[in-house]
């Protein structure tokens, strides 16, 4: 028997689980690690869900908890396993207008982000998700100006990785 709180949580979480999957994909390099991190993030979000007051959107709050879990609490070190890479299986699109080049570009982007350190990963992820600087600054606990400076540096790093 699930409580109302549990029902609300499951509803909110299931709708937004794509965010968590994307975070797992940039912070891990194979499916096992992905699943481990996904589970840890789920536990962290559930554990703190009762404290979520709805002052911000659930998804905004979810970004913060998920990124923080990925940055600090994840026990297994991010081993760089090149074999059994999940990128081959994960991005297959079943639609008719399936575009292979887009798939390759997405793979390149993910691999590039994986080369960054954990904080830079968070910054670039929030940029790609189109989050305003105010929200990025709040999530990371830095000033907006600082967020802009750091973002520019991280973008430069990623550019170099993507276009060596």
């Amino acid at each position: 028997m699930q409580t109302q709180l549990e029902k609300n949580f499951l509803n909110d979480f299931e709708k937004n689980q794509n965010i968590v999957h994307k975070i797992c994909r940039i912070y891990t390099s194979n499916q096992d690690e992905h699943n481990d991190l996904f589970q840890e993030i789920t536990i962290q979000i559930w554990k703190n869900y009762s404290k979520f007051r709805g002052e911000s959107k659930f998804s905004t709050w979810m970004y913060r908890v998920s990124l923080n879990t990925a940055i600090s609490l994840y026990r297994k070190s991010s081993r760089r396993i090149k074999t059994q890479d999940f990128s081959d299986v994960s991005f297959k699109i079943k639609s008719v207008d399936y575009d292979d080049t887009k798939d390759v570009q997405l793979k390149t982007l993910y691999n590039g982000i994986r080369e960054l350190n954990d904080i830079d990963k968070a910054l670039i992820f929030l940029y790609l998700e189109d989050k305003p600087y105010k929200e990025i600054a709040e999530t990371l606990g830095i000033t907006e100006v600082n967020a802009r400076v750091k973002m520019n540096r991280t973008k430069e790093k990623l550019k170099k990785i993507l276009n060596p």
Partner: protein, 205 residues
């Protein structure tokens, strides 16, 4: 290709294929968290039990009997009590650090708290290593200052041995033993906490 174009690719990426069902998510919420900081606390606790048991077994099996003859047992016991008090204080700190870490905080605050975890572990290891050195030095000075101390401890009670010669051999043996013990302890802590901290350290480089 520039980042703006990559951003478009990112936005158009397909939805996750392996969606997790509500039931599976519910099952996950029922499982236990597996965080680094939690493991530091648990391992600290297990380590305490481990050393306590070793000490206890050593005392029971008569490992300390020669020291009784030298009237050094009080010093050893008091030093041990002091050590336990310090370790318990460290365990309290480990627990406090563990409860301070919250994924709801902003990342900067979280990182500051993680830095605290790292520092506490570092000081804990330093304390343990320094403790071994200080304890060994004081114990050796006490043995030296006890008449026939080395003879009683080594079990050799032969006056034909050159006492000065015995002393130099004893000092060399003790220095080598302390060095080996430090190396083993350092390796022990390196394996125990070094691997756990590796992930936490990476973000500060």
């Amino acid at each position: 290709m520039d980042l703006a174009n990559y951003k478009k690719v990112w936005k158009n990426q397909p939805e996750e294929q392996n969606k997790i069902s509500a039931l599976e998510i519910y099952k996950m919420t029922q499982s236990k968290s597996n965080s680094t900081v939690k493991w530091i606390f648990i391992i600290g606790l297990l380590e305490f039990v481990f050393w306590f048991a070793i000490n206890h077994l050593g005392t029971k099996n008569g490992a300390l009997d020669p020291y009784k003859k030298l009237n050094l047992i009080n010093f050893i016991e008091n030093f041990n009590y002091f050590h336990y008090v310090v370790v318990v204080l460290f365990l309290i700190l480990f627990y406090r650090n563990f409860s301070l870490i919250s994924t709801v905080d902003n990342t900067k605050k979280l990182m500051t708290n993680i830095l605290l975890v790292r520092k506490t572990v570092k000081w804990y290891v330093y304390y343990n290593l320094i403790n071994v050195v200080v304890f060994s030095i004081i114990l050796n000075i006490l043995i030296f200052n006890t008449p026939d101390g080395i003879n009683i401890l080594s079990g050799i009670d032969n006056e034909s041995f050159n006492q000065e010669h015995m002393k130099s051999v004893f000092i060399i043996v003790e220095i080598v033993l302390i060095a080996i013990m430090l190396l083993i302890l350092w390796l022990f802590y390196y394996l125990l906490y070094g691997i756990l901290l590796k992930k936490l350290n990476k973000n500060y480089k």
